[in-house]
Each structure stands twice: as structure tokens, then as C-alpha cells.
């Protein structure tokens, strides 16, 4: 019987490991997985491939800077949201309602992991900087415009958003999905606009653009 390796690990292998030997690596891991049938071995191999220094080097300094930038961005948001959540004004407001944490933890995880991942995916593939900038601009514009519409429209969506703004002193930053969404939207938009533009324009990423390694020895 054919055993299927962990789907998430396979997805990570396809998208987070750069280089021109990915096809061979995927095939090797699948072949060996069929023999060993150990999900933990497969996960170890995939994580090893992602963290391998040559994989990081392939991504280049632009990606490293982008990931650092994304991390600083998210940390900055944490700080801002924390200050807001603990301000006397918010504590005294009618919105100070403890709420179920599990949903917000899920939202928080998506954003905390999603932002650096999106930026990494966009820049590691050497995507169009122009498209990235346009996406970033559009995202910032949406974030700036959002409060304007919010204050004027009393819609069910607005109610949901207001409910989401409720605060409790023990609710840490992980739970502030809405504020995080506002802060992270430009980066996510930028990453995905850049990714879509690559698909549309058919531009070459580093994997396709780099000559096959065997060409070095043939010359």
C-alpha cells in the first residue's frame, strides 16, 4: 500500500526550499518515506532542508532583511497594541469585555506566522519589486481608509469589529487579531500582489533563471 507523506510538510518542501534540485529532493524523500514510513523522519528532513544554510544563502540578503523587517514590524505592532490595551482610557471604556480566547489565538497565530511567511515567499522568489511596492501602497491606503468607513457605517460588520476591539488586561497581543490585521495588511497585500504579478507576467525566479549546476562542469 502506498503511504502518503504529511501534506503540510510536502507543501513546505515545495515552497520553502529553493534551488534547482527540488524535484530530485522531493522524489528522494518520497522514495525513502515509502521505505521507512516515518512521519517524524520526513518532518526532520523537510525542516532540515528549509533551515539548511545553503537554502538561506540562496534566498540572499534581500530575503533575510525582509524577514527581519517583518519580524520587527510584528514586534512593533505587539508593543503598540499592548500599550493601547493597557491604557486607562480603554480600561474605563464600555468595551472592556473579556471574550473567548481560543478564536483570537487562532487569528493571532495566522497573522504572526502569515506575515513573515508571505514576505519570505514573495522576496525569496525574487519577485517584482515594483509589484511589491504597489501592493504595499494599496494595503496602506486600505488601512488608512478603514477607520473612516468604520466610523460612518453602523453595519453588522462594524458590530463584529467593535466586539473585536474589546479588551481585558490578561488578553495578550496574540488575541488582537483585528489590530494585527490592520497593521499587517499592507505587507500581506504587497507579498500577494507581487506573487500574482509573477504568475501573470511569467517572470523568472532564481530557480528558473539560474543555470543548471552541471553547466559549470561542462564549461
Amino acid at each position: 500500500m502506498k503511504v502518503i507523506p504529511p501534506t503540510l510538510a510536502t507543501w513546505m518542501l515545495k515552497h520553502l526550499v529553493l534551488g534547482d534540485r527540488n524535484e530530485a529532493l522531493e522524489g528522494d524523500l518520497l522514495e525513502e518515506f515509502q521505505r521507512r514510513r516515518s512521519a517524524s523522519w520526513y518532518w526532520r528532513q523537510v525542516i532540515g532542508a528549509i533551515l539548511d544554510h545553503s537554502n538561506v544563502m540562496r534566498a540572499g540578503w534581500v530575503t533575510v532583511c525582509a524577514v527581519l523587517f517583518a519580524a520587527v514590524w510584528v514586534c512593533g505592532l505587539c508593543l503598540i497594541v499592548s500599550i493601547k490595551a493597557h491604557s486607562p482610557l480603554q480600561m474605563a471604556s464600555a468595551n472592556w469585555i473579556p471574550y473567548g480566547k481560543s478564536d483570537w489565538i487562532a487569528v493571532g497565530i495566522v497573522f504572526y506566522l502569515g506575515v513573515p511567511l508571505s514576505v519570505y515567499l514573495a522576496l525569496a522568489r525574487n519577485l517584482s519589486l515594483r509589484a511589491f511596492t504597489i501592493g504595499l501602497g494599496a494595503g496602506v491606503l486600505v488601512v488608512v481608509m478603514l477607520p473612516f468607513f468604520q466610523s460612518r457605517l453602523a453595519t453588522p460588520l462594524n458590530y463584529v469589529l467593535e466586539y473585536g476591539r474589546a479588551k481585558h488586561w490578561s488578553v495578550v497581543l496574540w488575541l488582537r487579531g483585528y489590530d494585527l490585521m490592520q497593521g499587517c495588511l499592507p505587507l500581506i497585500a504587497a507579498a500577494w500582489v507581487a506573487a500574482l504579478s509573477k504568475i501573470k507576467m511569467g517572470t523568472l525566479g532564481p530557480q528558473e533563471a539560474r543555470p543548471h549546476a552541471s553547466e559549470y562542469t561542462n564549461n
Partner: protein
């Protein structure tokens, strides 16, 4: 303090070194043992069998890429097979230049090993 771009340039230069690192030498020896049937999985198995430790296949490919860039190995693409999900194997072979480098490394190591009292008797 050096700008970050220099840091990556230095790392790039380090990758261009001509001598064999420990893992690169291990991979070269595994390639020589396997002959024509050397690809990612078989190389990893060969190293695991002699070292008793798990080997990251991606690490093997990273070493092979470095060796290929130096001209010590060359590769060819095999046919896609169903048991590998339709993905092709990449076979590797040591070049004449690679063999010369292995011999050179062997000579150096043997010279360094000779006459070391700490290594006599096999007890660590």
C-alpha cells in the same frame, strides 16, 4: 562594522574554496563507492551505514552542488519513476579533477595522522 552586503560576499567567497570539507569528503567517498548508481538516497544510505547517524538528504544535495560548482563531480538526470511520484533521479559521478582532490586530501590527512601518540591503540 562591515555592511551586511559584505557579509554575504564573504560567505560567497568562502563557498568558492577549493579544498574539501569533512562532509564533502564523506560524500565524495560515498560517490566513489557507489559508482554509477549514486543519487541522493543511495548516497545518504551509504553515509548512514558507515557513520551510524541520520543524514539530511538536503544536506547531501547542498554538498553535491558545492562539489559540482568546483568541478569535482558532475551529474545527469535520470528518468522519472512512479514510485517517486513521477520525479526523476539525479545521478552523480566523481570527475578526474575530483579524484585528484580526494587523493590530495588523503595524502594530507595520512601525513597528519602519522606519529600521533594520542591516536595509537584505538582508545579515545
Amino acid at each position: 562594522m562591515l555592511p551586511i552586503a559584505y557579509f554575504f560576499t564573504i560567505l560567497d567567497e568562502m563557498r568558492k574554496r577549493e579544498y574539501l570539507g569533512e562532509f564533502e569528503l564523506t560524500v565524495m567517498l560515498a560517490l566513489l563507492r557507489l559508482g554509477e548508481d549514486a543519487y541522493g538516497v543511495s548516497i545518504a544510505r551509504e553515509i548512514e551505514a558507515s557513520s551510524d547517524r541520520e543524514v539530511a538528504i538536503a544536506g547531501v544535495y547542498a554538498a553535491l552542488e558545492r562539489l559540482e560548482r568546483k568541478g569535482f563531480v558532475n551529474s545527469r538526470r535520470g528518468e522519472p519513476t512512479p514510485e517517486r511520484g513521477g520525479r526523476a533521479k539525479h545521478f552523480f559521478r566523481v570527475t578526474a579533477q575530483g579524484l585528484r582532490q580526494v587523493r590530495k586530501t588523503q595524502k594530507t590527512l595520512v601525513r597528519l595522522w602519522r606519529g600521533l601518540p594520542q591516536l595509537d591503540g584505538g582508545e579515545a
